[in-house]
Amino acid sequence: MSDELINPSLIDAREEIVATEQDSARSEGAKRAAAALAGVAAEPGVAKPDAILVADDVSKSFGGVKAVRVDHLEVQRSTITALIGPNGAGKSTFFNLVSGFDKPDTGTWSFNGTDISGSPAYRIARRGMVRTFQLTKALMRLTTLENVMLGATGQRGERMLNAPLRWVWKGQEKDIEQKADDLIERFRLGHMRDEFAGTMSGGQRKLLEMARAMMVDPTMIMLDEPMAGVNPALVQSLLGHIQQLRDDGMSIVLVEHDMDVIMSISDWIVVFAEGAVIAEGRPDDIRTNEKVIEAYLGKRRALPTSQENEA
């Protein structure tokens, strides 16, 4: 088995198969996204033709560490945009800032054309920008079903005065339950439906969190490492879902460390390093970008080549 993996010709063959599969399987949404982004230059802070999220001069320091300093960043509507970068690059902090979970030192940002800087997190979520957390937040003493149902918006029974009047919200509750059940099935959590979420494994919690976020019916979803700890077979099907969502018109921003995943599904990639956006572009642009390689491997590894060139 391990011999097979090491055999280079086999690996090449596999990659070829994967590549052809992806080419032939490029969905409508992917083509649409590629067309929309066709004329966009691969440079940091570049303007997009139809941006859903626009951030300006957003910065945040923790003590002496400048965790985020984004001069300008736009996210194109109905695309899968990946945020990548080394550990501690500021990706999660950027998520926290734009989703209202943390207050920036400076900066403004708008969503769908409305300035939402300084809005409380729950209002931003209601506007249709929903995020998940890198460290999952399963609501442990709620069942899987309750966790997912919680995500539904505009619930009449969530008003205190309506709450004791069961008949006011019973019908709506049924619809919500139906929708939640569909999502639970889609994320393969059916067997956990009536179990406490606290009994779930780490990977299952990632799935639960995504299902819960989907329940809000977001126009843009921000996923912080959604595949971490999810088994490879399920990753493939999750990727399928995410692409399907994009094809249906949803905007997806995702943080992920797995390069294969990133390169295979992203329409656009934004590279963070030390809090700033150092590169942007299509997967092919990023693959060959010097700055990105440098950021990932460090200057010391990158230096010898330049010295060799001088010599």
Binding site: S99, F101, P120, A121, Y122, R123, A125, R126, V130, R131, T132, F133, T136, K137, A138, L139, M140, R141, L142, E146, N147, M149, L150, G151, T153, Q155, R156, G157, E158, R159, M160, N162, A163, P164, R166, W169, E173, F196, G198, T199, S201, G202, R205, R212, A213, M215, V216
Partner: protein, 329 residues
Amino acid sequence: MNFTDVLSNAFRGAFGPEAAIYALAAVGLNLHFGFTGLLNFGHVGFMLVGAYGVAVSVSTWGLSLWVGLLVGIACSIVLALILGIPTLRLRGDYLAIATIAGAEVLRYFYRSDWAAPLTGGVYGLRQFANEFFALNPYSSDLALGPLYFSARNLWVMTAGWALVILASLLVYLLIRSPWGRVLRAIREDELAARSLGKNVYAYKMQSLVLGGVIGGIAGALIAIATQSVNPDNFNPAVTFYLWAIMILGGASTILGPIIGSMIFWFLATFLDSFLRNATASGVIPPDLLSGPDVGALRFVFVGLCLLLLMIYRPAGILGDPKELRLDVR
């Protein structure tokens, strides 16, 4: 040594007015902590303003008892807002500190000379609940074998347990609704609830106010039952008995506060009665333990019993031990 006496006293404790009143207050505390995760360490403060709302309205202002009850409820709402507005946006510990301090500040304020014209200061107020006892439908005392209740107590118990049932029913309906689902979600993880578009602050405030009002009504009932209020009866120990009751019965269960209160008062009166009986009849030599020490010692034993319960039933009598095994990952 008369065991029938001891046992009948204990049962009287389990069903008596105190048990009902503490159960009612614990229902409010359970809404705070058990269902919303709010750390309220000053529940007695709500009881105090509820009790004085009645007492001051009737004794000082000459209003009707029923208006006084509304005043007590209004005071609980105001107290909840004062405690909640500055702290509920912050981490949970801030509410804990504010409630501990708030309840003590209130006690000192109500007993101060400055407030004495209204509250009667350290002497408190008395004889303001005649309107309540005028409605007493029981004309004679009740004796069920060795169990004996006065007509007065019967009336207080009826009102008390009726309120307990009403409040529990309300909490039951609320908790099983989508509103209750949001509260429980906030208890588990506030940030997750916020990320799903829930206005966590508003929900916490609603829970604090509602639980506070239930506590205030319990306080009003104490004042009515004893026909007297005194600031020093509303000391921090009351809050901690309420916590003991809630945890004993099972926090975040509907019937937990009721069962908890009955067991708590059963134990407390049983031990009190037992120790008194034992010292009086010489089973315990008088130089080892004398009458006045009994009151203090019984709570030592109550504490011991609670300790044993927590070891063998850590989630409380009605709690689901499965919930405690859920770990953080």
